[in-house]
């Protein structure tokens, strides 16, 4: 990379046609410095190299922005093709300005800096189950397919060469085989770039992509073998060398994979202990996997395999070990590096072509190469698939085979390899280079452009993005176990058997060594999905809240706003045994559980995290409350509506008063509140008719489990009264009176006393927030119960709860809606205390 060229490029970019002039001027600035001390010096050479690199990256990135300005273009033309064209244009401009082709994709840069991020990204986000499920097919295509492609292409070209169609070339059989071996390999970068936009079904994708990753070992070996043969000279190659070549294939591939696995182990182990160095946690992932790449490169093993397997093997443990922020950092950094590298690779593939020195045209050679690689690829795929389909459970259909043949894109790996050739040994290097460039352009641009219409036309099964479903995961898990059991019973060793054995081994040994203890708990896939779904609900809830403009509830740390678990569910006494009843009954337990589980995990993992999650999760149930308001608005008499509003108003006012009083009381309240709550519940379960207990039970702590178990029984023998509601009523007052921050949800705060007469804003149907799907079902409403329950609250309030104004209390008829508002506080306290006890 030389200065003037760079400046030319810069100028060309900045000023378009005036680029040339910019070049004339700027070097003057650089070298025309005067004598003596200068206040400002222009030190271009000082920063030249990093500057150029940064600028190229910038150019490529800006170009990417440019492409996406037009959706029409990017939906038709793959980005890789656009980048190549851009590279060609830029290269052309530089060349026109300078007449020097100063840039090209050098093998060193490509193999050391651009390729590893892409492959690491591929490995780290590899769908492991899919990959290993199809490993047999992938390996066959990668190994046999690549050897087949290399051999047939090389030999056919040699055959044509012997026939004299290509004219006079200074080559031999080995040169052709060498060329065949480097042009044979399907390129992971190109495949990824094109297939990511095509969205074929995942099996098809993993087969083509897996092949492109794993064939690296074959390519490396073939390339090295033939290169050394070429060096030795055709006559000196012995049978021993050939055997050595075959042996070296196993060494290179297995060795590379082993290096990767070893580093994955190390990486997982390291992340287990990074708890106190959170900030550099993501760094380990990159450094160690890069080291695996370099190490296997150093040992002349397959570096791509090493880093792929490093990513594949470590992903599970690393993702479990590192904190959520670190995981996000890793994810984004990896994606950024990979797509940045990809962008640069394609752009430089374009730029590299603008160099008259490397072009040597031989029409027959170029065209025949194109024909041969396409034909033999298709032939190879059909033959191998024919063999494979006898063993595959889900056969690859002819349509799949077409896509697989057509998706055999060649790319930068081939280019880098061909550039690496030694001109002294391979006399026709330039011909090979230009042919490779043509092949790459043809596959990436032409096939990349046409593969999308082809896939549509052939109606290839597309991949559909589905939301993770809990049921699906559960059934999937059940199937896994059933299948492995069936294999056990029928006495065969199959995929399921092996997978089952592996997961047992993993659970018993590997995970224990490689995962943090806290992570082992929450590692289960099903739990993760459950967590994700919960989180999604929470996020959508908060988003709804924000849309409505009441942000305060999010920011408020008040316990009032913590968790809104619903114990006030009115019990449909007539249908006790039904699921929906049980659901309503237990939803509290569900969320509570998940929350405490989550929180437990987070308290171990990350305290700051917790606050966020808290804020998110606490609102899980709000939509239900919203619905309730609405619902009651429709079902209840206006009179009751009014009562409700009054009640809310009174409560709010009381709370304000109390918060003032209790502002000084700290956390100590939590404990008493807990006991009180339990006592209240105890009372409620023992005295269902709602009389005040004559004596206080001694304070004790019932574990949450016991409480949960209690509930259905209560309901069963007591259809008129809900213990939960009574308890809630009591708790309501607790929280109402003890809320330390006094930070109420503004939605419930009346602005003026006169509001009672009109419909309050949070009840107006116009602003109704549509609750999420899940939330919608949990809406427990039963107006009958509301009527029935209303009076109980008065008589069952906790004796030890702080009652500032009994008369106000007495006038305010209790309503489940109202109790809802405050109840969460108590639950949250419970959760927190649970955690603290732990």
């Amino acid at each position: 990379m030389r200065g003037p060229g760079v400046l030319g490029a810069l100028g060309a970019l900045a000023l378009g046609a005036q680029g040339a002039r910019a070049v004339e001027e700027q070097p003057g600035g650089a070298h025309g410095g005067g004598h003596g001390f200068q206040v400002v010096t222009f030190k271009w050479h000082h920063v030249q190299d990093p500057y150029i690199i940064a600028l190229w990256i910038l150019v490529a990135s800006v170009a990417k922005i440019g492409f996406h300005l037009s959706r029409r273009v990017t939906s038709v033309v793959p980005e890789s093709a656009l980048l190549i064209v851009l590279g060609l244009v830029l290269g052309g401009i530089v060349w026109a300005a300078d007449h020097i082709a100063s840039f090209s994709l050098t093998p060193t840069v490509f193999f050391f800096y651009l390729l590893p991020p892409i492959v690491l990204d591929a490995g780290y986000f590899m769908p492991n189950r899919l990959f290993f499920g199809n490993l047999g097919s992938i390996l066959l295509y990668a190994v046999v397919g690549t050897v087949w492609n290399a051999a047939t292409t090389g030999l056919s070209l040699y055959g044509v060469f012997l026939s004299g169609l290509m004219g006079d070339l200074n080559t031999g059989l080995l040169d052709f085989l060498l060329f065949g071996s480097l042009i044979a390999a399907v390129d992971p970068v190109a495949v990824l770039a094109v297939f990511e936009e095509v969205h074929v079904n995942e099996v098809l994708f993993i087969i083509v992509f897996g092949e492109s990753l794993l064939n690296d070992a074959v390519t490396v070996v073939l390339y090295n073998v033939f290169e050394s043969f070429v060096t030795l000279g055709g006559d000196n190659v012995t049978g021993v060398d050939c055997v050595k070549g075959i042996v070296s294939f196993f060494v290179v591939s297995l060795g590379g994979a082993l290096v990767g696995v070893a580093f994955a182990f190390l990486l997982s182990l390291v992340t287990r202990f990074t708890k106190h160095v959170r900030t550099i946690e993501p760094g380990f992932v990159f450094v160690l996997s890069y080291l695996s790449y370099l190490t296997s490169e150093m040992l002349s093993l397959s570096a791509i395999l090493a880093i792929t397997f490093c990513g594949i093997c470590c992903q599970k443990y690393v993702k479990a070990n590192i904190s959520e922020q670190s995981a996000t950092t890793v994810r984004y950094t990896m994606k950024m590096l990979a797509s940045g590298a990809e962008t640069i690779i394609f752009m430089f593939l374009g730029i590299s072509a603008v160099d008259p020195l490397i072009w040597k045209w031989n029409t027959a050679f170029v065209l025949l190469t194109l024909v041969f690689i396409s034909v033999y690829r298709a032939l190879g795929v059909v033959l191998q698939t024919w063999v494979l389909n006898r063993y595959r459970m889900v056969a690859l259909e002819p349509i799949d085979q077409v896509v697989m043949s057509y998706g055999g894109l060649r790319g930068a790996v081939a280019f880098a390899l061909v550039v690496l050739l030694d001109e002294n040994k391979v006399k026709e290097k330039n011909l090979f280079v230009s042919t490779t460039i043509i092949v790459i352009y043809f596959t990436v641009i032409f096939q990349g452009l046409t593969i999308k219409p082809l896939v549509q036309w052939l109606k290839v099964k597309r991949s559909e993005h589905r939301e993770p479903k809990l049921n699906e995961k559960l059934h999937g898990r059940a199937f896994d176990h059933i299948l492995s059991a069936i294999e056990d019973i029928s006495g065969q060793i199959g995929h399921n058997y092996l997978r089952d054995k592996w997961s047992n081994f993993d659970r018993r040994f590997l995970s224990k060594v490689l995962m943090r203890r806290s992570a082992q708990k929450s590692r289960d896939r099903i739990l993760n999905v459950f967590h994700e779904l919960n989180l999604k609900d929470a996020i959508s809830y908060v988003a709804e809240g924000e849309r409505r403009g009441s942000l305060a509830f999010i920011r408020s740390p008040s316990t009032d706003n913590m968790v809104n678990v619903d114990f006030s569910t009115p019990r449909p006494s007539t249908v006790e045994a039904s699921v929906s009843y049980l659901l309503r009954e237990n939803m509290s337990a569900v969320r509570l559980d998940m929350q405490s589980l989550e929180q437990r995990r987070h308290s171990i993992r990350d305290m700051e995290d917790m606050v966020t999650h808290h804020t998110l999760q606490q609102y899980l149930y709000k939509p239900r409350q919203e619905y309730k308001h609405l619902y009651s608005r429709h079902e209840l008499t206006p009179n009751e509506d009014e009562r409700q509003d009054r009640e809310v108003f009174q409560r709010t006012m009381r709370k304000r008063l109390d918060s003032f009083k209790s502002a000084k009381l700290g956390l100590g309240h939590g404990a008493t509140r807990l006991h009180r709550r339990e006592r209240a519940r105890r009372r409620n379960s023992s005295i269902p008719n709602g009389k005040l207990p004559l004596e206080r039970p001694p304070s004790f702590t019932i574990p949450e489990k016991a409480l949960e178990l209690l509930e259905p029984e209560e309901a069963a023998d007591d259809d008129a009264v809900s213990g939960g509601i009574e308890f809630l009523a009591a708790v309501t007052q607790d929280t109402a009176t003890e809320s330390p921050a006094g930070c109420d949800n503004p939605g419930f705060e009346p602005e003026e006393p006169g509001f009672l007469s009109r419909v309050p804003p949070w009840l107006s149907p116009g602003e109704t927030v549509v609750p999420s799907q899940r939330a919608r079902l949990q809406i427990p409403c039963s107006p009958g119960n509301v009527h029935r329950l209303a009076p109980f609250r008065l008589s069952t309030r906790s004796t030890d709860s702080f009652q500032p104004d009994d008369s106000t209390q007495g006038q305010a008829p209790a309503r489940p809606e109202a109790t809802h508002i405050a109840a969460p506080g108590a639950e949250a306290t419970q959760v927190i205390l649970d955690r603290m006890r732990l």
Binding site: I489, N496, D500, F530
Partner: protein, 214 residues
């Protein structure tokens, strides 16, 4: 001679019934005899002799499914005491990959059959519904392999899944509406669009691989 002839006759009949190849049937027959200890029928206890099954968290349910009258097509409920080889094959054939070249209707039928097997496994009281209790029970068993997951989390996951099922099957529920449990139709709805081809198929080999290990 006669015995051999009738045996091959029998095998041919089984091939027609279950769709297994005669090689596979022979292999499964060997396995069946191995499990039953050369008896004509197999009982629940025989399954406990399979060491690899030990670690399977839902082994009880799976073994039960082998004796379930619904799966054996003997009746709407109840368990069989013992099953013969034909029954054994019948159960196994639930997991046979679908034949190629089936039209869509047949594929759908095949799929239904396979899902029905799973449904029966969940619906332990044969009332045609997976109630919450039943679902919880399954999930608890499924997750019992992981000692770190407490029972409550398993329960709450089952509850969550049940609600998800309700939302898929019923859509928006009225406040007083009650979701009694997952019926088979609901079950099919949940599975809509999910590929079970790879999930519910075992490749039955023609050769005996495992016998070498014992």
């Amino acid at each position: 001679m006669g015995a051999a002839h009738s045996a091959s006759e029998e095998v041919r009949e089984l091939v027609g019934k279950t769709g297994f190849s005669s090689d596979q049937i022979e292999q499964l027959h060997r396995r069946f005899k191995q499990l039953s200890g050369d008896q004509p029928t197999i009982r629940k206890e025989n399954f406990s002799s399979i060491p690899d099954l030990e670690l399977n968290p839902i082994r009880a349910k799976i073994v039960r499914a082998f004796f379930d009258n619904r799966n054996l097509r003997r009746g709407p409920s109840g368990l069989a005491e013992e099953i013969n080889f034909e029954d054994f094959l019948g159960i196994m054939s639930y997991f046979r990959p679908m034949d190629t070249g089936l039209d869509e209707e047949q594929v759908e039928l095949c799929r239904r059959e396979k899902l029905r097997f799973l449904f029966h496994m969940y619906d332990s009281d044969s009332d045609g519904r997976i109630t919450l209790e039943e679902y919880r029970n399954v999930v608890e068993e499924l997750l019992s392999g992981n000692p770190h997951i407490e029972k409550e989390s398993a329960r709450s996951i089952a509850d969550g899944a049940m609600m998800e099922a309700a939302s898929v099957c019923v859509g928006q529920m009225e406040p007083d509406q009650v979701y009694e449990g997952i019926t088979f139709d609901d079950f099919l709805k949940i599975w809509q669009g999910i590929d079970i081809e790879t999930k519910m198929h075992v490749r039955f080999l023609n050769m005996e691989t495992m016998a070498l290990c014992h």
